[in-house]
C-alpha cells in the first residue's frame, strides 16, 4: 500500500505490526483513546526497604523472564553505562527474547550487539540507533522488526499501551533509598530526566540505578518514589566526560556561519519574529551559530523570546541570562553550561517528554513553537527528510524530536550543506522518509534557500528579502551537476525496521542492506 508520502508499505508489514500506513501529519487530530496503566505492587509496610544489593537482585525481584520489554533513557548520551550493565547481567542469567524500548541508543551501547546475535535481545524500539547496533539491524541480525519512533511518538506508544514496559531501568545522577531521583548533582549530572518520566509512570516495575545515593528526601524529585520499586547503587552509571562536554566553541567554518546567517535573516523576516516568539534549535555548528546571530538581533531590536524549547545548549542559556529569553523549557541538556543553567536559573524548567512532544496528549509544547531549526542527512524535492538511514543504507541516526517539532512549529527550517563529501543532501527521493515534507517549510543550504511551495505565505513575505532563494529542484540540480546523480542504495527484500510517524502509522520501512554489486 502506498502511504501519504508515496512510500510502499507492504501488506505483510501492516499485518504483522497491526499498524496503518501514514495518512498525513495531522490525520489523527481528535483521536480518542483510553490510556494504558501499569500493574502496581503496593508498598504499605514502612519497614520494607527498596534497596537491593546489585542489578542481579533487582532483576530477580522484578521477576525478569523471557520475552519481557525493558526500557532505558538516553540522558547519559554517549557516556551511558546503564544499558550495557543491565544487559550484561541479564545475559549472564540466560534470559532470552527481550525487547529493548529505549528513548535512544548510541555508540556507547555497542557492547550489547553480541546479545542481539545470540537471541538475548530480539526486539529494539528506539528513536534511533548509531554505531554497531545500527549495523546489526541493517545487516539483518535482529530477529524482530526494529521500530523507530520520534520522542513524541515513543511517549504516545507507551501511554496508549501500544508498547507495554515490564521493567524500566532508570539511571539517576542522584537518588535516595526510597527512589526519589534527581537529574542534578552526583557524578553523572545530566540536567534533566525528561525521557525517563513516562517510563516511570507506565512500567510495571521501576528500578532506579544510581552512583550517588543521597539522604532522604531527594526533593524536588524529577521522578518520584511513588513510581519506584527498587533502588540499586552501582559504581558508575556513566562517563561524565561523555555525558556532557564543555560548550562547543562557536564554529569558525565560514560555510556554516553563512548558512546560520541565512537562517537568521530568514527568521527575522517572517511575521513570527516578534515579542514573545518561541524557538527551538539543535546542537550542530550552524544551529548554534544561528542562535548566536539571532541573539544579537534580538538585543538590537529589543525583541524577547518567550519560549526556548527542547535540547538545550549554552548559547540558549546565555540568552536566558541576558534576559532575552523569558523561559527555557528543557528535555535534554547537551553541554555543561545547560546543566549549570537548569540548576541555577528558576526560569529554566524541566519537563517530561510527553509534555514536550506527545501528539496524543491534550497538546504538547512543540505545538506552540514558532520556529524550529533542524538538520537532516537528506531532503528530497518533496521536502521529506531522512535523519535515520545513512546514504549507505545503514541505520545511523535518530528521529529524536525532528518529526515532532517539524509538525508543531509554524516555521520549520532545515539547514543542510548541499554536499557531504560527494553525497548530495538534496535529492530526488530520500533513502527513507522520517519526517514528512508537508511539515518542512524551508531548506537552507550553502548554495541557496528553498521554500516549500505549500508555504506561499512565506514565499510572499520573502519577496523583497536579499537572500539566495531558489526552488528545491534547482538545489538538487546544482548538487547533481557537481557530483553526478546518485544511484539508489542496493537493498535486500527483507524488511528489518519500520519508521513510525508520530501517530503510530508507518511512514516508511527500512530494508536489509546488500553487499554492493556492480551491475
Amino acid at each position: 500500500m502506498i502511504n501519504a508520502v508515496g512510500r510502499e508499505i507492504p501488506g505483510e508489514i501492516l499485518k504483522k505490526t497491526g499498524k496503518e500506513p501514514f495518512k498525513g501529519a495531522y490525520a489523527n487530530d481528535n483521536h480518542e483513546y483510553k490510556k494504558a496503566a501499569p500493574t502496581v505492587r503496593a508498598l504499605c509496610d514502612p519497614g520494607r526497604s527498596k534497596m537491593v544489593e546489585n542489578i542481579h537482585e533487582a532483576l530477580v525481584k522484578c521477576g525478569i523472564r523471557d520475552g519481557m520489554t525493558l526500557s532505558f533513557h538516553h540522558h547519559f548520551r554517549e557516556g551511558d553505562y546503564v544499558v550495557n550493565m543491565v544487559m550484561e547481567e541479564i545475559h549472564k542469567m540466560g534470559i532470552k527474547d527481550l525487547t529493548i524500548c529505549a528513548s535512544s541508543l548510541g555508540k556507547a551501547n555497542d557492547p550489547i550487539v553480541p546479545y542481539i546475535e545470540d537471541g538475548t535481545i530480539t526486539g529494539i524500539q528506539s528513536s534511533g540507533v548509531r554505531g554497531k547496533i545500527g549495523e546489526a539491524i541493517s545487516t539483518g541480525r535482529l530477529r524482530d522488526l526494529a521500530i523507530m519512533r520520534s520522542h513524541g511518538g515513543r511517549v504516545r506508544a507507551v501511554e496508549s499501551g501500544e508498547v507495554h514496559i515490564d521493567i524500566a531501568f532508570i539511571g539517576a545522577p542522584t537518588c535516595d533509598e526510597y527512589g526519589n531521583m534527581r537529574a542534578n548533582g552526583g557524578k553523572s549530572d545530566c540536567g534533566v530526566l525528561s525521557y525517563a518520566m513516562v517510563d516511570a509512570e507506565y512500567a510495571d516495575k521501576v528500578v532506579a540505578l544510581t552512583d550517588c545515593l543521597v539522604p532522604f528526601p531527594n526533593v524536588p524529585a524529577s521522578i518520584s518514589m511513588v513510581h519506584v520499586d527498587y533502588v540499586c547503587v552501582v559504581d558508575e552509571i556513566g562517563n561524565p566526560a561523555k555525558i556532557a562536554t564543555g560548550a562547543a566553541k562557536p564554529t569558525t567554518d565560514v560555510r556554516k556561519i553563512m548558512m546560520a546567517d541565512y537562517c537568521t535573516q530568514f527568521v527575522i523576516h517572517t511575521p513570527y519574529f516578534k515579542e514573545g516568539f518561541s524557538y527551538q534549535t539543535g546542537v550542530g555548528g550552524a544551529s548554534i551559530a544561528s542562535t548566536i546571530s539571532l541573539g544579537k538581533i534580538m538585543e538590537e531590536r529589543g525583541i524577547h523570546m518567550g519560549l526556548g524549547l527542547g535540547g538545550i545548549t549554552t548559547p540558549m542559556c546565555e540568552l536566558l541570562e541576558k534576559g532575552l529569553i523569558k523561559k527555557i523549557v528543557d528535555t535534554q541538556d547537551f553541554d555543561l553550561g545547560a546543566i549549570e543553567s537548569i540548576k541555577r536559573n528558576p526560569d529554566h524548567i524541566e519537563i517530561s517528554a510527553s509534555e514536550y512532544a506527545n501528539p496524543f496528549n491534550k497538546g504538547a509544547f512543540v505545538n506552540k513553537l514558532d520556529f524550529v531549526i533542524l538538520a537532516s542527512l537528506e531532503v528530497d524535492v518533496d521536502f521529506n527528510c531522512n535523519v535515520v538511514v545513512g546514504s549507505d543504507g545503514m541505520i545511523t541516526g535518530a528521529q529524536g524530536g525532528h518529526p515532532d517539532t517539524a509538525a508543531g512549529a509554524k516555521c520549520t527550517i532545515v539547514i543542510a550543506p548541499l554536499l557531504q563529501g560527494r553525497i548530495p543532501a538534496i535529492c530526488t527521493r530520500v533513502t527513507t522518509v522520517t519526517t514528512p515534507g508537508e511539515t518542512v517549510d524551508v531548506v537552507i543550504t550553502d548554495y541557496g534557500i528553498a521554500i516549500n511551495p505549500r508555504r506561499q505565505d512565506l514565499i510572499e513575505c520573502m519577496k523583497d528579502v536579499d537572500l539566495p532563494f531558489c526552488t528545491i529542484e534547482e538545489l538538487r540540480d546544482k548538487a547533481y551537476a557537481m557530483v553526478g546523480e546518485p544511484d539508489p542504495v542496493q537493498f535486500d527484500d527483507r524488511i528489518v525496521g519500520v519508521i513510525e510517524a508520530r501517530d503510530g502509522t508507518i511512514i516508511d520501512v527500512v530494508r536489509q542492506i546488500k553487499e554492493y554489486e556492480f551491475s
Partner: protein
C-alpha cells in the same frame, strides 16, 4: 589591453591544489580571485600530482566568474616550466609568479606562456601574469617588474620570505613591512598596475586582520592575499565604500559625462571643484560598491 587586466581584486584567496575538498567550490565564499597553489602548499614529491588536479579543476569546475589565478613554483625550481604548460592548457586566467626579482623573470615566464598558448591553441596574450615580490631585491626592482610586460596585472608582497630576507620577522605592528609596502604601491601606481598586500596568518586575531586591512586600503592597495575564507567578508567590508562616497561618485560620473558633452572642463559637485581627473576614482568607487552589493545603479 586585456579586458580583465584591471578587474576588481580585493580578495585573492590561496587554495592548496592538492586538497580536492577545498578546490571544488570556493566560489561560494565569493572571493574576487582564488589562487590555486602549486608552490608552498604542495609537498615537493606531490608537485606532479597537484598539476593533474589543477588541470581537471580548471577544465571541469565552474568557478562562477571568480578569477582563477595559479601560483606556480619559482624559477629556481625544476617545476615552473611544466606548471606553466598545465596552467595555460587548463585555461587559468592568471599566473602568479613566485619569488620574482627582476623584469627578466617576468619576461622569461611570458616567453614560456606564449609558447604554451601556441602549443595548446589558446589565444595569444590571454593568460595574465602577476608577480609576487618576496625578497629585498625584488621589492627594490618593483618598478621594472611592474613595467616588464603587458600581461602583468600587478605585484603582490609576500611578507614571510621578504622579512626573512630583511633579517627580521613579522611583528604584527607592520613596521617591518612599511618600506616595502610604500615602495611597491608607488611603483605599481607609477606603472598603472595593481598592488596587493601580503597574507595575515593569525586566524584567531580577526581584529588585527581588520586593522591591517584598513591600513593597507588607506595606503592605496587594491586588496590582499588571503589564507582563509573567513577573511573574505572582512576585506570586502573594508573595501566597501560608504553611502556618502557612493552618492558623490555617482554625481561625479554623471556630471563629467554631461559636462564633457557640453565642453566644460571644470565645475563643482556639492561645492567641490571637479574635473576629469576625478573620473577614474569615481568609477572605481562605484565598481567596488557594486561588487559589495550596496550599489544597484547602472553606472
Amino acid at each position: 589591453m586585456h579586458p580583465n587586466k584591471k578587474r576588481l581584486r580585493r580578495s585573492m584567496m590561496f587554495l592548496n591544489c592538492q586538497k580536492p575538498g577545498l578546490i571544488k567550490d570556493p566560489y561560494i565564499y565569493k572571493p574576487d580571485s582564488i589562487m590555486l597553489d602549486l608552490e608552498d602548499a604542495v609537498a615537493e614529491n606531490q608537485k606532479d600530482a597537484a598539476r593533474y588536479s589543477l588541470f581537471h579543476a580548471l577544465q571541469e569546475i565552474d568557478y562562477h566568474g571568480v578569477e582563477r589565478v595559479v601560483r606556480i613554483n619559482g624559477l629556481d625550481t625544476p617545476h615552473w616550466k611544466e606548471d606553466i604548460r598545465v596552467c595555460v592548457a587548463g585555461g587559468a586566467d592568471t599566473i602568479r609568479i613566485a619569488k620574482t626579482e627582476t623584469a627578466q623573470d617576468v619576461r622569461t615566464v611570458e616567453e614560456h606562456v606564449l609558447a604554451a598558448e601556441r602549443e595548446f591553441g589558446r589565444p595569444e596574450g590571454s593568460t595574465l601574469l602577476m608577480a609576487a615580490l618576496e625578497s629585498c631585491k625584488g621589492v627594490l626592482n618593483a618598478l621594472e617588474v611592474c613595467q616588464s610586460s603587458d600581461r602583468l596585472i600587478g605585484i603582490a608582497l609576500s611578507g614571510g620570505d621578504y622579512t626573512k630576507d630583511l633579517q627580521t620577522t613579522i611583528t604584527g605592528t607592520g613596521v617591518e613591512l612599511m618600506g616595502a609596502r610604500q615602495h611597491m604601491i608607488m611603483a605599481a601606481r607609477a606603472a598603472g598596475v595593481q598592488c596587493w598586500d601580503t597574507v595575515f596568518t593569525n586566524l584567531d586575531d580577526m581584529e588585527g586582520f581588520e586593522k591591517e586591512t584598513r591600513m593597507i586600503k588607506l595606503m592605496g592597495f587594491d586588496g590582499k592575499s588571503l589564507v582563509n575564507p573567513r577573511q573574505i567578508a572582512v576585506v570586502h567590508k573594508v573595501f566597501t565604500p560608504a553611502e556618502k562616497e557612493i552618492v558623490f561618485a555617482e554625481k561625479v560620473v554623471r556630471e563629467i559625462d554631461d559636462k564633457k558633452a557640453k565642453g566644460i572642463g571644470v565645475f563643482t559637485v556639492d561645492g567641490k571643484m571637479i574635473d576629469i581627473a576625478f573620473y577614474d576614482g569615481a568609477k572605481r568607487t562605484l565598481a567596488m560598491a557594486k561588487a559589495a552589493g550596496v550599489y544597484k545603479g547602472e553606472l
